[in-house]
Symmetry: C2
Subunit: 341 residues, 2 copies
DNA sequence: GCATAAAATTTACGCGCGTAAAATTTATAT
DNA sequence: ATATAAATTTTACGCGCGTAAATTTTATGC
């Protein structure tokens, strides 16, 4: 690519001696042109630096290779991780992912969806904000664009839903905690944005009752997405007011647990399962950071790979014409035993 | 927006009774049309759901409102946080940010830059990978697109550089540690991807010598971006082999420190400044998570707001025609005293 | 060498919108 | 009411590429 810059396909057609429609075919699928033509084009590409404008490409294409990925909040490492995973899968499957974050704001989420329409995506992988989402905006979007909902299900919209089995999550870890020590109380935010939180509370209550224990739910104040700080402040309050009825605390999610661990540290409360420990703390999610808390956090982890693979594969299948009835897939989590509980 | 979907501006022109060029002006700047016209358009927008296709808009515009934001790795909360900050500033200034992550991969970084060209951005805010970056790709990109480099400077490319003053960071926190206890040794990765790491090591050495202490650098193995794990594994090795010559450890960055804290926990080494503590650990960066480690991490924090504001403002000024010579701005960090050191 | 099929080229139009120039309408001042 | 300026409409072309149809060129079999 020593030559000058080529500004469009027509110029590259002149300079390479190949007609523009053939070039168009080539860039769309190199194997669709004759070998001799392909090598001529590739030779020209070596000499001259040219890349077709992807946005112009998509303008008049009936089916693009674009895939939109929307998460509620990119600064949450959980979503960052799953977004990264999904992006890789899209690339591997020959799609072109574009990542968007709703920044925890319903208005921005709607904005993102409008922007996405302009991209003419072949499909979208959407993790909605949850309760805050504008249901009408989501619904109309899903009618226009093949959309697969993941992480947090709103209603039966889109092609399908893929997420984790929150009931299994909570039941499983509650069971573990009951078997290995005092039955846990459940620590959560009072007004969680995510519907998964409700499922987890209910699953906790059901599990406790099934095991013959009295469920105790500790709900702390806090709005927004600063879960660690909510967990920390709520932890202080809960300790001060004696809300924790047992020495075992199951948190609604790992970020809350991380904040609670900090509160424990600040209160001088030793966390862990050793004899010198006063309290056990467990989380839920398998947050990327949970390995590095002190003590490392016992948690039940999403199967990141399976969730993203199932979601991506389902979307790709739908894009490629497969029609299947709406379906909800909820994948089981894996208990990760560490020192905190 | 009760009516049917309008598919393009021409259809909206017919239905609203306004000519398409006037609509184009309106969408570009609502105040550029007469009040009576504007209210007619706005009334039509209430009735019919129409939004211009942004990618088609940008196709033939001489100067778009697009701003590209590129970070090395979105799953690092530090970059996620600064990216979020930059996005907000772009939106506030009337620009349209699009976020990209290089996923820690130089080839992908080059890919991203090529994608960005298609967007015809008015400007780009780019945090390069660092040493791994393809310098030639960066340089030619900067020649074509007004680009402001932030976080990690490569050479004198682009419009300007805005980042943190790593020398001040390390000098300041080294000074603090020396004044309040044993002089620190410096804990880092052997082959850091980021040039900032080198500046910090050198600043540490210089500071120690100036204070009349012997600098000790502990470099641990590890490649890639899994800093916490590198910090943890390296920490185990360093403890086992007695590499830490003092009871105070200054880490090259917070993520490494977070991993080291975990190693300390696993080794049963108490961290903090209390009399019952065996070791002090400090980080650098003011990572979003540093508040929630146990003990909370003493660190020297980037001035996120100032960095992102300086970077964004400089880019916007350049976009709006201001020409200034290349300049490097390095902002001071703020020492955050917490329990770890 | 010729017939046939496959691939490439030519030609032409479309995507959704920006933008420039000329013609027309509207608002403001006198 | 008239002159002037401002805004709008009409008309037309451009951005960079997709894509379809007709034509010409190339490759393959015999």
């Amino acid at each position: 690519m020593a030559g000058d810059k080529i500004k469009n396909m027509e110029e590259f057609a002149r300079i390479s001696g190949i007609s523009r429609p053939t070039l168009s075919k080539f860039f769309n699928d190199p194997s669709s042109v004759r070998d001799s033509t392909r090598s001529k084009i590739e030779a020209a590409l070596e000499q001259y630096d040219y890349r077709p404008n992807i946005y112009a490409m998509n303008q008049n294409r009936k089916l693009t290779k674009n895939v939109g990925i929307v998460v509620p909040l990119l600064s949450d490492p959980y979503f960052a991780e799953i977004a990264r995973n999904l992006e890789q899968r899209c690339l591997a499957a020959g799609y072109r992912p574009t990542l968007f974050s709703s920044h925890g704001d319903a208005a921005l989420e709607t904005e993102v969806l409008d922007t996405l329409r302009s991209l003419k995506p072949a499909g979208v992988l959407l993790a909605p904000l949850g309760r805050a989402s504008d249901p009408h905006a989501l619904e109309t979007f899903c009618k226009d664009v093949p959309t697969l909902i993941f992480d947090s299900s709103v209603e039966e919209i889109g092609l399908a839903f893929v997420g984790s089995d929150n009931v299994q999550f909570t039941t499983h870890i509650t069971d573990y905690l009951c078997r290995t020590g005092e039955p846990p109380c459940f620590y959560e935010m009072k007004t969680p944005a995510n519907p998964n939180a409700h499922r987890r509370r209910q699953a906790y209550i059901a599990a406790m009752e099934r095991f013959g224990h009295e469920p105790v739910v500790v709900s702390v104040e806090g709005e927004g997405w600063s879960f660690e700080e909510i967990g920390r402040l709520g932890g202080h309050e809960a300790f001060d007011k004696g809300w924790f009825s047992t020495n075992t605390i199951l948190c609604s999610n790992d970020r809350l647990a991380i904040g609670l661990l900090t509160a424990c540290y600040e209160k001088g409360v030793h966390v862990g399962r050793g004899s010198d420990c006063a309290i056990r703390v467990a989380g839920q999610d398998g947050h990327p950071h949970s390995r590095y808390t002190c003590p490392p956090l016992t948690t039940i982890s999403h199967d990141y790979d399976a969730v993203s693979q199932t979601a991506a594969d389902a979307l790709f299948a739908a894009i490629e014409g497969q029609v299947t009835p709406w379906k909800s897939t909820r994948l089981e989590g894996r208990l990760i035993l560490r020192d905190s509980a």
